[in-house]
């Protein structure tokens, strides 16, 4: 699971008011190179919850993202490459996503999160 997806997932458990962002429990992180596409990054940037991304990125061992952003940064290749790396090249292969309110763990195996809810959570 890449951080771009983590940034789009929240806990949907019944009764939870704010299930975003999910905390990350790391067991195995893998880095996989992907072609750099600045247009794609600029396109996605508006959708990203920045703080959730920087926190998640640090959890996965990459702390190079700036804490704050401003629009001019989208013109900087250096910034875009850092964004590219954090968003698209870090994979949580094994671990869990944790509901910030209930602590319930959603396991991640072979890079695939299991977000299925139990009957009493729906």
């Amino acid at each position: 699971m890449r951080l771009i997806t983590h940034n789009m997932l929240s806990s949907n458990i019944k009764g939870v008011t704010n299930g975003f962002p999910l905390r990350i429990q790391v067991e195995k992180v893998v880095e996989k190179e992907v072609d750099f596409n600045p247009d794609f990054l600029r396109n996605m940037f508006a959708k990203i919850e920045w703080k959730a991304l920087t926190e998640a990125s640090k959890t996965l061992g990459y702390a190079d993202l700036p804490e704050e952003t401003e629009p001019l940064m989208l013109e900087s290749e250096e910034f875009l490459r850092k964004l590219h790396h954090a968003l698209l090249e870090l994979h949580l292969e094994e671990g869990a996503l944790v509901c910030p309110e209930t602590g319930r763990k959603f396991p991640v195996n072979k890079g695939i999160p299991n977000m299925l809810l139990h009957e009493d959570e729906v």
Binding site: S10, K47, G111, N114
Partner: protein, 258 residues
């Protein structure tokens, strides 16, 4: 390596996962037929709900990705835990990537992806079955559609309404038994226009691929009219291309409902 759509020989499989069949092929053919529109559309986020073997999401990534690598975020979901692994393998075999999540429809994504998804593709469990077969996590989830085959479809439509961006498109496979005209009327109530963009009849089924989009911009409708034709397929044309033999699991599936 540059495939037009996913190659059957590279699609991974598992006994509990639905192999690509007529319905998968008709959806991919519809996407292929609409590829000019899709390229112009420049979707940022694409989701397949119920990815099964990964045949469709892989094909979509190939169709869209020809020009520029990874121009979009592809997400694939399935309730079946074996399907998500198989999908991942199929994507890898084709050099494609999508973020795959084991979840019920798009549970977990609704808040953050509200009004953000530009393309949704779905080949839902559309076969009319007893209600108690709906929602099992094994291979039955691939086809069990409850009364009129509409139980899961009826859960997908409001999700699509929530997730689709203003310019978003939904492509969905349906059976005549799902009453597609009623479906289109219901979506019209939600502000969606629709068109059957591909239709195919085999001995067993009459399948349609319906494309839905928000009724905001008449320009979009003009695009669909120019570049998309209503196509009728000879069911045997499939077996002529690419040396693919008819998947036996597909035949077995239909024989259950004879």
């Amino acid at each position: 390596m540059s495939y037009k759509v996913a190659k059957i020989g590279l699609v991974s499989s598992h006994p509990e996962v639905y192999d690509p069949c007529d319905d998968s092929f008709v959806l991919v053919d519809a996407l292929l037929a609409d590829r000019v529109n899709l390229a112009q559309h420049q979707p940022s986020i694409c989701i397949e709900i119920g990815c099964g073997s990964g045949y469709v999401i892989t094909s979509l990534a190939l169709i869209l990705g020809k020009e520029v690598p990874h121009p979009a975020l592809y997400i694939a979901t399935d309730i079946n835990p074996y399907a998500v692994t198989v999908t991942r393998e199929t994507l890898e075999a084709h050099g494609c990537f999508a973020d795959v999540v084991n979840t019920d429809i798009t549970n977990g994504f609704e808040k953050r992806l509200s009004k953000s998804v530009d393309v949704i593709v779905v080949n839902p469990p559309y076969v009319p079955t007893p209600e108690d077969e709906v929602g099992c996590k094994g291979i039955t989830s691939a086809w069990a559609g409850g009364e009129n085959g509409r139980t899961v479809i009826d859960r997908i439509l409001p999700v699509a309404e929530e997730l689709l961006s203003d310019k978003g498109w939904l492509y969905m496979v349906t059976l005549a038994a799902n009453k597609p005209v009623d479906l289109c009327m219901e979506m019209k109530q939600k502000g969606f226009t629709s068109r059957i963009i591909l239709q195919r009849s085999t001995d067993e089924e009459s399948l349609q691929v319906i494309k839905f989009w928000r009724d905001l911009d008449t320009q979009l409708e003009a695009n669909v009219g120019e570049n998309t034709k209503l196509l009728q397929f000879n069911p045997f044309s499939f077996w002529k291309r690419g040396n693919q033999s008819a998947p036996t699991s597909c035949k077995e599936k239909f024989s259950l409902y004879d």
